[in-house]
Symmetry: D2
Subunit: 412 residues, 4 copies
């Protein structure tokens, strides 16, 4: 017997390629489709509408297809009511749990639709007296009521990237169909405009950074941006903070490494001495208080009262005392710092950029800047409406960004 379900999707699905992806995914998941209705937006500003019937040999397979299509904003015509089942053990979802997208999502509990708090990919949805919210598998407890299957769930597709949208003038560079010229210098200006607007709206700017910020000499520019209020939160690993502090403590010796270009040769022990000194102070803030740490990015974050979350990795030396050595604890700390964030800029770190991208709602614009195309591509693929990748030199990028945003900025 063949199992079927009818789904619909509306929006700029033709010229965005979304429609093609919906059809493609049905086939890739081993199902089949029949297009029941297609109302074409006649011009490029009109929305289109499509209704299609999806079929599969088994219920479980059909369920998986339906959950998949929701990532594209394709919802069941008759979504029914959410099935909710209790988790039977800590850290384990029911087998057929609904796996979330990073899009705004509603679930129907009884007769009412409720919004799911904290849209995040690859999570489950827990329902309790307060409503519904996403939860990563590591945080679910036995007895938590978890949404299962695709019934009773609706996902709101992102607004398509329409050309010349007069309401979003500053986001236009983020789409891929833009203007008649796309010099990197213009991109910097557009990022600067973005940051000013985000700040005016009272939202936070989150930076995610790797140690290349220090190695390419971008630290002074970043310090100027911190001092002028363009860095509210910083996510990083042990390496960025360590090399920044090493530069502050051992001055010239950092030159040795900077000088060699990419990466820091091992056996060069200054970084481990820097770590040891901060450990002796108990924390980075402690090192600032005692006068051990007197300059650099971390110093600026501490003295301006900005929040930072450092999460460790298996290749870390030390680490610094502020580093979360438990990565799941680290993820929790990162999630806790997200509320209020309205713009994310990621710089020269694949590991922490992907970690952050994994937990961001699709609605938060992000810019990923790296000289390595692989990092940028991975982020741009994640299906945010407002994600852009800039393949460029982060040293020059930060320098120009500081020149745009900080009046009188002049490299010392």
């Amino acid at each position: 017997m063949r199992h079927t379900e009818t789904v619909e999707v509306r929006g700029h699905i033709l010229d965005s390629g979304l429609f093609a992806r919906v059809l493609d995914d049905v086939l890739e998941y081993g199902g089949d489709y029949r297009i029941d209705r297609l109302d074409v937006g006649r011009t490029h500003t009109d929305e289109s509408y499509v209704k299609l019937t999806v079929s599969a040999d088994e219920t479980e397979q059909l369920e998986r297809i339906l959950m998949r299509l929701q990532t594209h904003g394709a919802n069941q015509i008759d979504p029914g009511t959410a099935t909710v089942r209790a988790a039977t053990a800590d850290g384990v979802f029911p087998d057929d749990f609904y796996s979330t997208t990073n899009l705004d999502t509603r679930v129907r509990l009884g007769d009412t639709w409720v919004w799911v708090a904290n849209p995040e990919m690859d999570c489950g949805i827990v329902v309790d007296a307060d409503g519904a919210r996403t939860i990563p598998v590591s945080d679910v407890h036995a007895g938590d009521m978890v949404v299962c299957g695709a019934d009773g769930v609706k996902v709101v597709p992102l607004p398509s990237r329409v050309r010349e949208d007069p309401n979003e003038p500053n986001f236009e560079f983020m789409s891929s169909e833009v203007s008649s010229e796309k010099p990197q210098a213009l991109l910097v200006r557009q990022v600067a405009d973005q940051m000013r607007q985000v700040r005016q709206r009272g939202h936070k700017i989150l930076w995610v950074g790797g140690p290349a910020i220090v190695h390419t000499g971008a630290a002074p520019a970043l310090v100027a941006l911190i001092e002028n209020g363009f860095v509210d939160v910083l996510f990083a690993g042990n390496a960025l903070a360590t090399h920044d502090i090493e530069a502050a403590l051992f001055g010239t010796s950092l030159g040795v490494d900077l000088d060699r270009g990419h990466g820091v040769p091992h056996g060069h022990e200054h970084h481990i001495r820097a770590i040891n000194r901060v450990r002796a102070c108990g924390s980075i803030a402690g090192a600032v208080e005692r006068g051990v740490l007197r300059s650099g990015v971390m110093h600026a974050m501490v003295t301006h009262g900005k929040e930072f979350v450092l999460v460790g990795s298996v290749r870390d030396d030390g680490p610094l005392p502020d580093v979360h050595t438990d990565v799941i604890e680290g993820q929790r700390a990162m999630r806790a710092a997200l509320p209020g964030v309205g713009f994310v800029i990621m710089m020269a770190t694949m590991l922490h950029s992907i970690a952050t991208g994994n937990m961001l709602p699709a609605s938060i614009p992000l810019v990923s800047v790296d000289i390595n195309p692989a990092t940028v591509t991975k982020l741009a693929d994640r299906g945010s409406a407002h994600a852009t990748g800039v393949i460029t030199d982060i040293g020059l990028f930060c320098e120009q960004l500081a020149s745009e945003l900080v009046v009188g900025y002049k490299r010392g």
Copy 2:
């Protein structure tokens, strides 16, 4: 006042470039040198000897230069006796602790020289009734006696890579001056010879692997190598195990990602379902026992009783229940698995390869295989005598390696 100390180094220091690096490092660390004596090995099989006086403006700076030179095997002529001081807090070394190399090292305690157990970079040396051993900063306890300064420490330089050493025929490909031809197919054969010899000597073979092993279709070859005793220990992250298990549980659907080439698009929820099922079983071994997991790399490791250490990262989903979420605990588990390892092969993972490279003694040969030159270069730089990098396709590499080592190996 100028502080000076005299050091010496012996070996194939001229043609290996080691001598140039010693002089270079003195200057880079802000010191100066005077060559007191240079006995030149007249032919390329003779060793040379150099004695040089190093000077610096401050004692601390001189100490740092001396410690640095030891990484090249340049030791003080009159090393004196080791200074040992107690750590005053958990997780903190005395400020002038001796920072280790990954070379064989001795310390003079009173009148006797004792070997330092477990040579590892960027550690301290703890001395107690049992002798001396390296310790990472995170594991030192208040009251531990730690070697400080460079006095009383001697480092044994690695045997240089001399051409045509008749005693090491199979290592010859590892040097960079090799034979008249260097096709990748020959390299595979030489790695295979290495593995056979390591096994004959009763040493263990350690694999360090990334998820690309699964994505490039190398898993069946790796399973054959496990079944035939060429994989004793496996270090990896959550991703390798997850995608391997996803392939075993969801068959065709993995094709979706493999097919797309590099990396797995997010939002594709099969991997999170795979993780959830294994979490429900309590462990990977539990999933094998219950018949949930019936094929693949992790299945083979479990059924053949091989040890694996999985250490998580901040970008992980889940993770699998076997994954160390605390990276420092993970490092400890990796260190505990190192004794007996005689050969390391690293495959397509920068994070775990560097983590492993950080804790390996320089004397253990390692091969790093990756299609990404950056990974290979970083490993080859780490100053092991027997490190080689192979920039190649790991799918084809594993396929040919299995053909060499496993009689009758034929891809299914």
Copy 3:
């Protein structure tokens, strides 16, 4: 006043993303569209049909949009009759010449539609008593009759990549939606199957190769493939032939370079000596005849009577006497060797691969193999229905390809 024209396109345009690209290009070229009709293929095996009216402010702009859309197979509903104008000078087309795609194309001359010979991108169409054919701008003569504007031209879109097409079983790996597993070893087998079939059909196999074939030790495998009839034509530059001949003439010394990995350090003069010796013989064939050249790829090509076209570049030393130093002459020689070619394999050369890709009809399948993703991506973008890119090690790839195709192949 607004200028309009109505075009139509039929095929698997929805799930292939073609429809999205048509709409996108209209807007990118500054025009606008209205969808007049859209007949949707209900299932994934049905074709769809769309009719849309394109508009622009100026005739010239509209013409350019229409010509652009033809690259996607979107033709004017009422194509009219071709406008033909005489070129007024050698090497110059009329200003509004029709710029060709690499798809099969027809032009209406008077009442009849005639096929355009030699489909090739970025050419003009010359019409004479023999019919119509593409011509590069460098080859047009004053007085040649050239098709102008988009009227009277129809382009045949490529068959879409439909899943599970039972008639093309061996091409399936070339699409991007393939099977449940995509190991590189399987890809090699599929390329081997392709080559056998092409040979059975009596078509030629064209190789386009770079010097890395020699550097990665792939030359013996390529020689075996030549000897067994799997290389009919070879396109290359001065470098492949030079390093191959250098290896044959100076044996061990090539090891110096192979050994260093990527590329040949300059100042290493053996290659210039090799070139000089062949110049003394008048040609590569002359060097074979005189017994100067006795092994290697070029030797095998000569002794088996296979055609090769070597085209020089500005970075060449020498060059070898067989090298076309005039690149336009070189392009002519390449074009002359294309008739009969039924399969193209490109290996580790961006320059000659793109040159070849530029002149190939879209209907000829091609495989581009390189360890550098950039090369592969550029080729895969060129809009051939049967183009695939393999990012892998060419040394191991050739080795396995020879093992598949040559009975008893065993590296010496």
Copy 4:
């Protein structure tokens, strides 16, 4: 019987690693050595001196080793007198011709040492009544007297890169041991200082550029640099000029490609129309005269009377009428433009950068700027004392360079 010869080399050969390379090359070429004397420079500002006897089984092999060692400045103690033999055919050297380095070279003809004009790698040395000069193999004529073997030739090693040389303050960034910080922004300033000085000395600045200059939006900055006298000569291919002219002629449409990031999709016919229009004008200058070309890089070069040499490649469309389609003719045109050049900046083109690097004397400083590390590494390897590589974004690099050099520069 064993053939031997004694050579000597003087300079900063220990800390520069040069000595290690000399010994290495003897062994790599199958010879052996004995160190006869080594006078060590005691401090880092003293020069060292080494005398060593090189041996080989055959005369020819020994000759090759001796010629090789000259690339490191190691000359025969008793160089004898140059052997000179007539070329017997056009375009062919005698078999044992002396293959040149790019270092300053002298030959002893009879009793006198004469300097060789135009040091260039991989050439021969022709001697006539006017003295001695390098000649590429393609330009030698039957009867030309060519230096053979290594006798009677002396090569002057480059001054070593010594730290803190007070006479070369602005070159210091070019070495690899530099300052305590190496931000890209500082590099830009140092390149700017270089350019000012070169101009003050009355030397020419040569730019070698690829089409990415246009694609990254660097063209306006380059135009400003041309207008202000910082571009005397431009070497490029068909692509840079074509895309620059396409941008000038078709304005917005270039945006299409810029927008897509790397490279220009084929089938986009505007570039071929641009080429056709310039062909109709006879030359780029003709297009400027007729008012067809009114802006951009090529327009600025023409209107400011600057020299440019465009050399084609096999992948070119068109090409533009100014392009040398014969690459050997192109090389000749490039060589003819070199006299007076005192500084070379290479930007985003591997092909033309290597071509230029091949013909430059080692004494001319060059900077290679590219976002692709491969290009930069290849150039930096070529053994110039004053070569530096900058891996960065050329769009931002040119923008900052123009800001440094052009008063009031502000992007339009």
